[in-house]
């Protein structure tokens, strides 16, 4: 019998990935060394690495990074806390569902950065409007993820708990939340990348510190190596956050293995 079962089973392995990455860097560096492109437009990887090193050594990088991290952290935690509460309420009760679903669908599609000028008017210049923008950007996708997760809790588990007379608060904590956890964690993935996007854009609009502000300033001064160093930092930051969430998922969802 000829084999017909070929394909449709892709598996990602490390060697091709490393090779592709190394090739990209090498070609990029070669282009830079050969001066085929004006280094002002496309600095070489070595130049970017040097810029990164200088920034790290002078401490400038850490100042910006800390500022951005505090904004992201504050906004994400506030938005997530609110989103968890509202998401559960929308997933559990008819009244909050009727009100919440319509409001969330109206506000979710607004790019939250468009609200920054208004928030600055309301809250004054400084950290608060930036943190609030991030919190708003995090809040809505969290509500949607949590409410979706709560909706997907197997009905039979809730019925089981009810038939054993388990109280509501215990059903919420011991059945609904663990069951919705996968959906909540994948919501974290979306909300954390939204938070990164918003911190950078709000810093680009109105801040003198933070990675976003640093990138804008570097661009204004045509320091493209610094600019790309900032971009590299953002990429690493995004990776670290994604890795942390994957780690959380593996730990919290071990029972699914």
């Amino acid at each position: 019998m000829p084999f017909r079962g070929r394909g449709f089973a892709p598996a990602a392995t490390a060697p091709p990935a490393i090779l592709a990455f190394a090739t990209l860097i090498t070609v990029w560096q070669a282009v830079g060394t050969a001066e085929w492109v004006n280094p002002l437009f496309l600095p070489s990887p070595a130049a970017i690495a040097r810029a990164l090193w200088t920034l790290a050594a002078s401490g400038e990088l850490w100042t910006h990074l800390t500022r951005s991290a505090l904004r992201v952290g504050g906004g994400w935690i506030a938005g997530t806390a609110g989103g968890l509460v509202v998401g559960c309420a929308v997933g559990l009760f008819s009244l909050t569902r009727s009100v919440g679903l319509s409001l969330v669908s109206a506000f979710y599609p607004i790019p939250k950065i468009a609200l920054l000028p208004l928030l600055i008017l309301w809250l004054g210049i400084g950290e608060t409007p930036k943190v609030a923008t991030i919190a708003l950007g995090v809040f809505f996708p969290t509500v949607i993820a949590v409410c979706g997760g709560v909706d997907q809790v197997p009905r039979n588990l809730i019925r089981m708990a009810q038939s054993f007379d388990v109280p509501f608060s215990t059903i919420l904590r011991r059945v609904i939340l663990p069951s919705a956890l996968p959906a909540i964690l994948s919501g974290f993935r979306i909300s954390s990348s939204t938070a990164l996007l918003l911190v950078v854009s709000s810093e680009m609009i109105g801040a003198d510190s933070g990675i976003g502000a640093f990138i804008t300033q570097a661009g204004n001064l045509m320091k493209t190596a610094d600019l790309l160093a900032g971009v590299v930092v953002l990429s690493i930051l995004g990776l670290v956050v994604a890795r942390t969430i994957s780690w959380l998922e593996r730990r919290a969802l071990r029972w699914r293995a």
Binding site: N156, S163, F164, V166, S179
Partner: protein, 257 residues
């Protein structure tokens, strides 16, 4: 303690599901409820368990709870309804945690329930590691852990393959004789009904009414013997004769959108 259903009637959105069903589950009595698909067996069990309020009629508890009873009524589910993120032991503990039971007593109850269902070695296993038969044993152990007077079982063996089912019928035969519980046992399988029940109640096609009641004269522990086969086969034939028309009608029915 007896559980009495008096003139139960119920409908969902104008679809009458049960009409005037009166039924007594006496202590230590196993009542099988059979009937064509969709005739309201599960609904009846939900009503008995307090998960659905009947449109008419009432469910009464007569007599006192037996000594040591933690919850008078417990349920076993067709799809097991185990919490996948909890070990076998913790699944059983789940139905005890909100009860006024001390930690030492709780450990004792859990160990006892595990032992009686042959699960002692599997206390630390997770549901995904267990076969269907073992999962349902956990479901049964969990129900027994609250020391109920009445056990509600909705097609507890339907999700199992026929060999596992045969093994569990043997186990249940022993368990039901040893436990001091009354049982309402919903099943599609007449063989299961005549092997396990003291009394078989036949519901008609929807709206379910009591169409026939048959007592099984042979003691449960003797029903596997060759000498009992003829009588059980005759009983099965009688039950099938009263279900057949309803089953054909149910099978040919087009689901309402």
């Amino acid at each position: 303690m007896d559980l009495l259903a008096q003139a139960i009637g119920h409908s969902f959105d104008g679809l009458t599901v049960l009409a005037d069903v009166s039924l007594a589950i006496r202590s230590r009595e196993v009542v099988a409820i059979v009937g064509p698909s969709g005739c309201g067996k599960s609904t009846l069990l939900s009503i008995l368990g307090g998960l659905v309020v009947p449109a008419s009629g009432q469910v009464l508890i007569r007599g006192r709870e037996p000594p040591g009873c933690i919850s008078p009524i417990a349920a076993v589910f067709q799809d097991f309804a185990l919490l996948p993120w909890r070990s076998v032991e913790d699944n059983i503990r789940f139905v005890l945690d909100h009860r006024p039971v001390g930690p030492a007593e709780k450990r004792g109850i859990v160990a006892d329930a595990l032992r009686r269902t042959g699960l002692s070695e599997f206390a630390a296993a997770y549901p995904r590691q267990l076969s269907g038969g073992m999962k349902q044993r956990v479901g049964i152990a969990r129900a027994l852990a609250v020391r109920p007077a009445i056990l509600l079982m909705d097609e507890p063996l339907s999700a199992l393959d026929s060999q596992t089912r045969a093994v569990l019928i043997e186990d249940l035969t022993r368990l039901l004789d040893a436990e001091r519980v009354g049982v309402a046992y919903v099943t599609h399988t007449l063989d299961e009904a005549v092997r396990l029940a003291d009394r078989v109640v036949v519901l008609s096609a929807r709206p379910g009414r009591i169409q026939d009641v048959a007592d099984v004269g042979i003691p449960r522990s003797e029903r596997a013997r060759p000498s009992a086969q003829k009588e059980l086969a005759a009983l099965q034939a009688r039950l099938w004769a009263s279900i057949r028309d309803g089953a054909i009608a149910a099978e040919r029915e087009v689901a309402r959108a």
